[in-house]
Symmetry: C2
Subunit: 650 residues, 2 copies
Amino acid sequence: MIEAVRPCVDGGRFPVKRTVGERMDVTADVFADGHDALRAVLRWRVAGADAWCEAPMQAAGNDVWRGSAHLKVLGRYQYGVVAWIDPFLTWRRDMQKKLAAGVAESVDFAVGAAQLRAARPRATQAQAAVLGGCLASLDGADAAARGQAALDDDLAAVMAELDERPFAVTSDLLEVVVDPELARFSSWYEMFPRSCGRPGQHATFADLEKRLPYVAGMGFDVLYLPPIHPIGRVHRKGPNNAPEARPDDSGSPWAIGAQEGGHTAVHPALGSLEDFRSLVRAAKGHGLQIALDIAFQAAPDHPWVEEHPEWFRQRPDGTVQYAENPPKKYQDIYPFDFECAAWRELWSALRSVLEFWIAEGVRVFRVDNPHTKCFRFWEWCIGTLKQDHPELLFLSEAFTRPKLMHRLAKLGFTQSYTYFPWRNHKQETVAYFTELCESGVLEFMRPNHWPNTPDILTEFLQTGGRAGFEIRLLLAATLGASYGIYGPAFELAEARAVREGSEEYLDSEKYQLRHWDLDSGDSLRRLVTRLNRIRREHPPLQWDTGLRFHGTTTEELLCFSKTAPAGGEAILVVVNLDPHHAHSGHVELQLESLGIGADEQFQVHDLLSGARYLWRTGRNYVALDPAAAAGHVFVVRRHLRREQDFDYFL
Amino acid sequence: MIEAVRPCVDGGRFPVKRTVGERMDVTADVFADGHDALRAVLRWRVAGADAWCEAPMQAAGNDVWRGSAHLKVLGRYQYGVVAWIDPFLTWRRDMQKKLAAGVAESVDFAVGAAQLRAARPRATQAQAAVLGGCLASLDGADAAARGQAALDDDLAAVMAELDERPFAVTSDLLEVVVDPELARFSSWYEMFPRSCGRPGQHATFADLEKRLPYVAGMGFDVLYLPPIHPIGRVHRKGPNNAPEARPDDSGSPWAIGAQEGGHTAVHPALGSLEDFRSLVRAAKGHGLQIALDIAFQAAPDHPWVEEHPEWFRQRPDGTVQYAENPPKKYQDIYPFDFECAAWRELWSALRSVLEFWIAEGVRVFRVDNPHTKCFRFWEWCIGTLKQDHPELLFLSEAFTRPKLMHRLAKLGFTQSYTYFPWRNHKQETVAYFTELCESGVLEFMRPNHWPNTPDILTEFLQTGGRAGFEIRLLLAATLGASYGIYGPAFELAEARAVREGSEEYLDSEKYQLRHWDLDSGDSLRRLVTRLNRIRREHPPLQWDTGLRFHGTTTEELLCFSKTAPAGGEAILVVVNLDPHHAHSGHVELQLESLGIGADEQFQVHDLLSGARYLWRTGRNYVALDPAAAAGHVFVVRRHLRREQDFDYFL
């Protein structure tokens, strides 16, 4: 019997996720009736390949068996478990006991000899030599030689090779999607390209190229741009979401499509498609992936509205149904009707949009509100695109209920935005991250934590001052393997909301150009740079697994450690969650999770400040003043010089 | 999307279990992309039936929906969830918001009117009248009438009836086996029929008939008999498992088969098949089911050994392979080779054994060591037999590793022996029962707790004296809905082991006749009788669900409560686990699980002693001397007379 093969999502309906080069541990409950000795292997292959890779599984107690698959290339794999009864191993195990107890009889040896004879026709010459030698002893009258032959190690090895796996059972096949490392460990920077030029002027891709050193210099991997397409003019919104735009207002980039084109066109003010290609090339030169925003919706003057009225929901009065969230109305946005009669053509056209940008060298997409589009569309669209391009990365922007977020991740999205922006206090932070890490969600969903976005200026950031931004940055960059900021609003600590009780920015870049003073002395740029370097240099920060919270004696101090699956160093983070006051207290380390024994002394080295402290078992004191530093990011160093290390000890 | 339909065992590979008349609560995660209003129903039917029963499901928060199926008859059912988008409900919900905000436009009414028109061809005359009236209003110019029609309750009801379930999705079908109530709530008594006669004489079924009033009088439902077949003479064991039997030794009933016959024959000394039929009839008259022991193995002189040598494993020297657990050898037992070439004939013959006894009126079987027989055999055998006889009950005697025990339950066994005999201390008892009740195991496995069996005289019973037997009886009868004792050894507190460190009885009835003094003044018969009556009178003790442990300030006091799924009274049990000393301390009640508010006073009424105590919130004092009583079985009575209940309060 094979039961409970893990990892497994929804009984195998959806693949689990890993990144290239990882070793995936697989466990299964394997057992049989009776007392026969069992063997089990884990097998796996890239989907579509003929041959299986195999690795033996080991019994780990309580009928749980464990094996490991090395996932060497990108793509979708299948994996499963095969288990069977090994008659020779059974016989050998029983003979060991009988010989030890002195109750082995001639017929017992004959039972084994019969197995050897049955295996002989399958043997190579070398194997046959081993079989022949042992058979002679088993058939002979010399008791010592018989016993020795029965337990001969070479014989056991040959019989294992010749094993025909009788009564083999095979688990249902499961799947794992193997993504590039960037899917697991990434640092994102979002910015509006039109705002990076001279004050008051609509910037271009060429201006953005000049900004690349700034972004890359901070250590980001992904530069994510809001939609770069022509912006609709019908019902265009003005600054601060004003219902009417003035003639020279730029409009929202998410109102996609105008007479200049739709989802495969570039806004003329940004430049040409050739300029975009140049940007993508230049970004790569800086180690940056350009991420495009995929917002599958249309402005009323999007060319498809006229060309394909059948893709939109028509109202009885002949008008097109615009987006609504009653009683709110969004007349500047027409949703596509994913379930319309012409859905095949619509779905195909939408996938073509992605194919177009893939052909232009884009590999990373941030998908706008995927939960308001047909779920089956995403599974089909992402699934088929990744067949040819397993390196693609899709970030799901679904700030919605947990089960919908989870479903989108299961359907194929590579990363997902999270509730991180609204988890500020210790208890809620611990609860949320514990749920993410311990409920099995990480098998299919990779969180990407954003302290801010153009839609989300949290009350914490509005009220916390510069220290508030530091705290949120520190948490995002260390709690999660992937995080992002919307800049330069973030590093410049832009905190003004459009009005009390709103999370919208005042003078939001969504509706107007902004100009940012990147050289402000208050910029968090140096902290961002340092954190991103620490992230690159320390593997524990590159994984969402291995997170463990530790107790603190003060409600305002949060303490957690991270370790990488391969082991090695531990990172220990302590953050003062209160941006307004200094706090001090003790952290209560669960040392075994850091690989430290009960009586050991060790050094914690703050990678932010450079300070070093000698700590030991149990409680250690921490004082953090947000005016000076929001937290510590320690690497735990275990090698300390003791009296034994010096000559005079001898 | 429908996810996570519960209850569910291994993704639907195995059925869950319920008993007839129960309402099965089913939950599922149901959600859709976008913001459409959803509806969902639970549906179920007896497997093979054409028509589905349906019950609406209600959203219970966090996208979990809940419904309930009434399982009225015995047998195997299918169940599943259907969910769909309800366009009219969506429109009505949005219109409520638009009307409240004063933003409803003519086209909004026209959208709804179009839905009514589309539904009209499907309407009955009565429904059409409602549709027509509302349509007139919706199409009209009277704003108030339009708004009223949009939200009309009759219209909503008619549209729900005419709903065509667009985009309906259906979950995979799951199965539930509905057993008789006895499967859930049963009290078993095991005894050796040959020992119930006059001293030194092999008793008969006729003698056993005379013993029925004794067993039924104690309140048992099931009288379970070790094998009643002819006993092998070859390699027969003597008293206390002596390797050689003397000519007049009776042998072990589990060494089945001799020249007089095999699994469908009756031991001549017990009587004839007609005598057995008489016993079954008489037992029914006393409210007792006769349970037979099914031990699928053969003595060397079982007729099948000669008739069907192909059903046994032959050794190279031409002898039959006897049972082994190296280095131990059981030459008196030949196992069947379930994987032999003639397995179809063997399996069929073994199932015929059950069919034979079913035809003789037996409905309850205790299966000996099922984990050493082929698992697929059991799934096929029990599954096919229950198609015609859904009332059958199979108790699995598999004292083996947890995953094997669970698998046997999944494969079809109705009840299972448990590790209860070896859970004596508070912590291990709480841990074991919590695991049983909270891990989902109860969905497929029904525990049957035995403090002793002919194979198991635990160290606790060997050392605990009469009080030890009382404690174990009290726990078995109240922790579990099903329990059993092997008597008269149990009620007479037989505690002598064959030797130090063994759980075997001295002079075990497995190998010899015994005579018991049922009228001993020390018999636990009265306590057994009282406990079985309490079990019958108090529904909380008839369910394994609803068990909750409560804290005590003393390690030796165990406290737990039980409630039935339908609610009603609670039973509260306190047991002194130490048979040697009196203990006292406080129990710390989690009152909300008893349906009692924080400040309430209540009465606990000991159903064993008749004593009543006034208790209230928090800690209450208990003192238990095992010389007087091992524990309390309280019913919690909430109605107390307070000052308000008397005239003079006014």
